[in-house]
């Protein structure tokens, strides 16, 4: 199938210059009853930025939000906390000793290591560096993150209930291990709508995977569950059209979709007058919004307006679509344009063997872009109302999976590390403690439900009051659990 007409096609054909023309035409050309109000709202969105929003529930946010948008860099596959953030000098002594039963205390293991007769502890082979004013220990594998350590808040005491990828990532994304519930981004879209009419409220960016054993991801992770389906995340892709079917596959030297839309609007208006169903007017509006997306996405994905300093910050890799660095940059551009929830999926952290070889590769892929995003948002004044999250769906075992010489690390739900930044989160702060084995939490545990409650809180939403009635029950992202972790807040 032909899908070659990338977004640059639109640019070349001078469509961006048509933008102004479009705005002047659409207000007079449509003229349908209720339509005017919506279009006008968004027409002025440029000047009246942040005052207006599209969609969302009346009465939300429940209180003044600290964060207006979220960028969630999901590190799928589960990064190793013990090698990256949770510094354990105690392991020097414990290295190659057996993990005591008292520490494991009968905990369930995955089917991959439950048959092992021995659980030798493996210290991290990497050096940790004490960084920043906060004097936080960070692994040498993350040199760029070391540089932003005073802007981020490291939570070392995350824990979850699931021990395998599918249920664990589904839990992180939807608050439930089994399929069927809405994803966090869908809840945000439903509750808070979007700050722009030109882009969806919930955008998903997929990083091209390089690790041969990477865990798959799936549409469910950004699905709408039982919420109306327009709240599902929209993938912005690095191959083909950035948004599916954004571009006319039959395009000539000039774009003709404006004409299609004008004629269509006239015919649909005639029908609306005859039938009376306001749904027809709504459809005219949706076509106009599609056109806005056609106009604005090429502008969004075209990085030619970025100064050289951007690529110094994010690295040259950011010029290659589909890399983590490029997606971090794109996430910033989406945030600037008013997208509510941006989620970047970076896969490949699932290292059941040969951590020593694979972890540095993955860390390198993630490090610079993630750190650059923090610096970039900060220098643009966006970090204060943008919540950035970095983390996976669980942690990894301190003991070796398989041969200690080529050690792997198995799934570990009992403690792991994520970090958050911006949007009302305490900077340069670490929270939670694990034991000397990096196996159990000894202080300030944060459950996935708590994590969700905290995100919603920062967005001005009481997690107990954002509900949706389905099958007779008022469902929440946090089910019947969740505590806002106030200690993390500014």
């Amino acid at each position: 199938m032909n899908n070659q007409s990338g977004h640059h096609g639109l640019l070349q054909q001078g469509l961006l210059q048509n933008r102004r023309q479009f705005f002047s035409r659409s207000s007079s050309g449509i003229g349908a009853l209720a339509l005017g109000s919506l279009l006008n709202r968004s027409l002025f969105a440029q000047q009246d930025d942040r005052q207006q929003r599209v969609g969302g529930l009346p009465g939300l946010p429940h209180f003044a939000p600290k964060a207006k948008r979220v960028i969630y860099l999901l590190q799928s596959g589960a990064p190793s906390q013990v090698d990256l953030f949770d510094y354990k000098p105690s392991l020097e002594q414990l290295h190659m000793t057996e993990l005591p039963d008292s520490i494991r205390s009968g905990q369930r293991l995955t089917g991959m290591t439950s048959g092992q007769s021995s659980f030798p502890i493996i210290k991290s082979p990497w050096k940790f560096v004490r960084c920043g004013k906060s004097e936080t220990w960070i692994s040498e594998l993350l040199p760029h993150m070391q540089g932003v350590v005073d802007d981020i808040c490291i939570v070392k005491s995350m824990h979850t209930e699931a021990i395998n990828h599918d249920p664990a990532i589904t839990f992180f994304q939807s608050g439930n291990q089994q399929p069927g519930r809405p994803s966090i981004g869908a809840w945000m879209s439903y509750g808070l709508g979007c700050e722009t009419a030109e882009l969806p409220a919930f955008v998903v960016l997929l990083t091209k995977n390089t690790f041969y054993q990477a865990q798959p991801i799936y549409d469910r992770l950004w699905g709408a569950g039982f919420l109306p389906s327009q709240h599902q995340g929209v993938k912005f892709r690095s191959q083909g059209d950035p948004v599916l079917y954004l571009n006319d596959p039959a395009q000539g030297t000039r774009n003709s979709q404006r004409q299609l839309l004008d004629r269509l609007a006239k015919l649909n208006e005639m029908r609306a007058a005859e039938v009376g169903d306001p749904e027809i007017n709504a459809r005219i509006t949706q076509y106009e919004m599609a056109y806005r997306m056609q106009m604005s996405v090429p502008d969004l994905t075209d990085l030619s307006d970025e100064p050289a300093s951007t690529f110094e910050l994010y690295g040259e890799e950011a010029k290659e679509p589909g890399t983590h660095a490029a997606n971090c940059l794109l996430a910033r551009r989406l945030a600037e344009r008013g997208v509510r929830f941006i989620q970047v999926f970076h896969r490949g952290w699932d290292h059941h063997s040969n951590v020593a070889k694979h972890l540095p590769e993955l860390a390198k892929e993630s490090d610079q872009g993630s750190a650059a995003l923090i610096q970039d948002l900060k220098q643009r004044g966006l970090l204060e109302d943008t919540l950035v999250i970095w983390g996976g769906e669980f942690g990894r075992t301190v003991y070796s999976q398989g041969n200690p010489d080529t050690f792997g690390r198995d799934h570990h739900p009992r403690c792991f590390t994520i970090w958050m930044a911006g949007g009302g989160i305490k900077p340069g702060f670490s929270f939670g403690q694990t034991d000397e084995f990096c196996y159990n939490i000894v202080e300030n545990p944060v459950h996935v439900h708590d994590f969700h409650a905290t995100i919603l809180h920062l967005m001005g939403v009481d997690h107990e009051r954002l509900t949706y009635r389905f099958q007779g029950r008022d469902f929440r992202l946090t089910d019947v659990h969740g505590r806002v972790v106030k200690e993390l807040l500014v």
């Binding site: 032909n2 009853l33 399929p179 039959a250 039938v275 169903d277 389905f470």
Partner: protein, 821 residues
């Protein structure tokens, strides 16, 4: 002016804006909720009181014994008037002032007030007064309406209503007319014949009517013309495909295994069984029994065993780290949730961890139901067995001919071999190849389908603490919830077969109501019970309770005849009403809960794609078979999963496979076809009985730019140019130009009616503009004519073909094209 009218007027202006901002969420509390806003003197427990108790009180004072506070239980009459732990009485019939309940709901003291402040729930003044009045009147309880067995209600007498005699078509209309009249509303005039045939064609076959069908019907004067159209559609194979498509959502059917790797699954033979069952119009009771327990029927046939694939359609994991029993438990849970939703309209799964918060299903009863489905010899990890190789009902002739030919070749081979010739195999090379390929085809002809079986020695069923697979509680055995007052007869074994038979027993209060309501939902967009997935205490009350019961009784008494009940609905005057009734009517009753007009709603995803294929002449009609791979953008599968050995590229189908009906499209749960998904198709990970119906910019992009639709436009253009023989001097041309005649043809193909003069002139103008534009834009011409894999008629002038393609694209983007009017 009554309250209802005020309410409507008050909300009308907001609705317009809401429907645009929040497509799919906008709704007015009409129907049953509106009837609670009445000013009548009678308080009805079912209508007025139970919804309040359920919503505000049952969480702590309902069926869940563990969560119960203060010893107060309000869902049962005896318990509600009993003495509380405190010695007080929550309800003293006829004495609201001394009833603790009233004191508490009226209290201004935060520590006393009910519902508690922290519940974030607040009773309105009107609700408080209703509760008081109900207690003053004696606090009479009624059983929940949907748990009472169906009795056929008397037909309303509506003969005195003006115009009734002319309007009524069948008994359905009496119920509808009575309700309209009660609310001071009137019915709408009948839809035009063009609108009606297009509506009923989509509703019964999922496809638009052909121009020939439209013309025949429009010109047919006889009184039974419409009935004949309906019967024609009901008897068509497309009806069976269409019905199957709805069933597949409920059955969470897919061609992949779900969960993270979502590898391919061969389950399409079961899908063929469903189509065949609808084609044979298998009575719904038999349809139910065979799917839930066909394997347990005496002398079960292979087709009856095949039917049980229904409850093996759930996702199955292959993720290495999982524990078998953990996932096996999830599969059983899925069966209960699905079966409960599909047949009973109950949220049984809510009682997995605790007694149901609203419905009378205890945790014990949940696990008693669980026991029915817990006896499959299956595993959690890679749990594909039991499977069985059973032929599809559609392909017998092909299989027979393959087997015959194999037999022929083999005997030839054997005969020669025993002659002891030098070569042990005297088939020609061509014949050897043929034999190989036939054997391969035979082997793959019917992949083994996942089906149900029963363990020889039953597994014990434990009540699982907190619903967790490894927290084994008390052992229970299969039984029905007490609320249904059903026990096993002495010669019945407590197995799935008994369960299935109980579902379709005339005494079962739910199955028939739930099923006819889904038919209604399909035709009208909203069921008589809007919450078609929940007939429990939290579900919405029926807008037309007597009509629902009447239909349910009719359904059962007809021998569970699915065609009969649908025929009745589409033959009713209610269904035949016009939907072109003006903005005010839409604002007054956005969801048409009063049924004062005909249904008008956007078509489902599959219908839209199928309609584009049909009107462009690309549709390939063929019943059943392996799933096919239509157009989708490159890389959608591997960008999510590129793990060697656990992933695959999407391989685009060829030839006819690109143009089959959408129900045959390969359904990958983790990445459903984007076109279908954009138009609200579910991912089929769980049972769905009601899809969203949204209106989004992404849908516009699909219709404008997805190759399937651009290609359809190119073919429609080709049909317009080649199939319309124009003689402008023909008196039938009514003075229209050749272009106008062609435009009329295309327009009628797409929306089933001829254009109005102003529509026609806009299209003529557009056509001429495009001709001018395209002459100067050979790139556009070339691109337009090269979208899609189907060949182009090279005899047509490219510029002309391109101009008509642009026009056809316009037509295929009309709101009317994607809407059933």
């Amino acid at each position: 002016m009554n309250n209802l009218t005020t309410l409507r007027l008050g909300l009308a202006k907001y609705w317009v804006l809401l429907s645009i901002l929040l497509p799919g969420v906008s709704e007015l509390p009409l129907g049953s909720k509106a009837t609670t806003a009445h000013a009548s003197d009678e308080v009805s427990f079912n209508r007025d009181i139970r919804p309040i108790l359920s919503e505000y009180c049952f969480t702590c004072h309902g069926p869940d014994g563990v969560a119960r506070q203060s010893g107060l239980r309000l869902d049962l009459a005896d318990a509600a008037i009993a003495e509380l732990d405190s010695g007080a009485f929550a309800i003293i019939p006829n004495d609201p002032h001394n009833s603790e309940l009233v004191k508490r709901i009226r209290s201004r003291e935060p520590s006393e007030r009910m519902p508690p402040v922290e519940s974030l729930k607040l009773l309105s003044q009107e609700q408080i007064e209703l509760l008081e009045k109900w207690i003053a009147d004696g606090a009479e309880y009624e059983p929940h309406w949907s748990f009472v067995p169906v009795e056929r209600p008397d037909l309303p007498v509506v003969d005195k209503i003006e115009g009734a005699q002319d309007w009524l078509q069948n008994d359905i209309d009496r119920f509808v007319l009575e309700k309209l009249n009660d609310h001071g509303m009137t019915s709408s005039p009948p839809a035009t014949k063009e609108t009606l045939i297009r509506r009923v064609a989509f509703d019964l076959t999922g496809l638009p009517p052909t121009i020939e069908e439209i013309d025949r019907f429009v010109n047919e004067e006889s009184i039974d013309a419409y009935q004949r159209v309906v019967d024609h559609y009901l008897d068509s194979p497309e009806y069976a495909e269409h019905m199957a498509r709805f069933w597949l959502d409920q059955a969470r059917y897919a061609d992949s295994n779900g969960y993270q790797y979502d590898t391919e699954r061969q389950q399409w033979v079961w899908r063929d069984w469903v189509i065949d069952a609808f084609q044979r119009n298998v009575p719904f009771d038999q349809f139910t029994i065979e799917q839930l327990a066909g394997d347990l029927l005496p002398d079960a046939t292979p087709q009856q065993r095949l039917a049980t694939g229904f409850n093996r359609n759930h996702s199955i994991t292959i993720e290495g780290g999982v524990i078998d029993e953990e996932y096996r438990t999830e599969y059983v849970m899925d069966r209960i949730a699905t079966t409960g939703t599909v047949w009973l309209g109950l949220t049984l799964n809510c009682a997995r961890c605790h007694d149901h918060k609203y419905d009378p299903i205890s945790r014990r009863e949940f696990y008693q139901l669980y026991a029915f489905f817990n006896q499959v010899p299956e595993k959690g990890l890679n749990g594909f067995d039991p499977r069985e190789r059973i032929p599809s009902p559609f392909s017998d002739s092909r299989l027979a001919s393959i087997e015959q030919r194999i037999h022929q070749l083999k005997s030839q081979q054997t005969a020669i071999a025993t002659d002891d010739e030098n070569s042990p195999n005297n088939l020609t090379d061509v014949e050897i190849e043929e034999l190989k390929s036939l054997e391969k085809e035979r082997a793959e002809f019917y992949p083994a389908t996942l089906i149900m079986r029963e363990l020889e020695k039953p597994r014990p069923t434990y009540m699982l603490e907190r619903g967790e697979y490894d927290q084994l509680g008390e052992v229970v055995s299969a039984a029905f919830p007490a609320v249904f007052s059903t026990t096993f007869s002495h010669n019945q074994s407590p197995d799935r077969l008994s369960f299935a038979r109980w579902l379709v027993d005339p005494g079962n209060p739910l199955t028939a109501r739930v099923t006819v309501n889904r038919f209604w939902q399909r035709f009208f967009g909203v069921g008589l019970v809007k919450t078609s997935e929940d007939f429990g205490l939290q579900g919405e009350l029926p807008s037309h309770p007597e009509l629902l019961d009447w239909l349910a009784a009719e359904f059962m008494e007809s021998g569970w005849d699915m065609k009969h009940i649908q025929r009745l609905i589409v033959l009713s005057a209610t269904y035949r009403q016009s939907s072109h009734v003006g903005l005010a009517a839409y604002q007054a009753d956005p969801q048409n809960r009063m049924l004062g007009r005909g249904p008008r709603m956007r078509l489902d995803a599959e219908e839209i794609r199928d309609a584009a294929l049909a009107v462009s002449g690309l549709l390939v009609k063929k019943l059943g078979g392996r799933s096919v791979y239509p157009y989708q953008p490159e890389g959608l599968w591997t960008e999510l999963n590129n793990r060697p050995g656990f992933s695959q590229e999407y391989v685009l189908g060829e030839g006819a496979d690109l143009y089959r009906r959408s129900l045959y499209s390969f359904w990958k749960r983790s990445v459903p076809l984007p076109m279908l998904k954009t138009f609200d198709a579910p991912d089929r990970e769980v049972c769905i009985v009601q899809r969203s119906r949204t209106n989004t910019p992404l849908q516009a992009l699909v219709l404008m730019n997805a190759p399937q639709f651009v290609e359809a436009a190119r073919h429609l253009a080709q049909r317009i140019i080649t199939q319309v023989v124009v003689d402008a001097n023909d008196p039938d041309s009514l003075g229209l130009t050749a272009d106008e005649i062609r435009i009329d043809f295309g327009f009628q193909q797409v929306v089933g009616r001829l254009p109005q003069p102003q529509e026609r002139s806009l299209l003529v103008k557009a056509l001429n503009e495009e001709r001018l534009r395209l002459v100067d834009d050979p790139v556009a011409v070339d691109n337009l004519l090269n979208v899609g894999n189907s060949p182009r008629d090279q005899t047509i002038d490219p510029n002309e073909h391109a101009a008509w393609t642009v026009l056809s694209r316009l037509l295929l983007n009309l709101d009317e094209f994607v809407t059933k009017e």
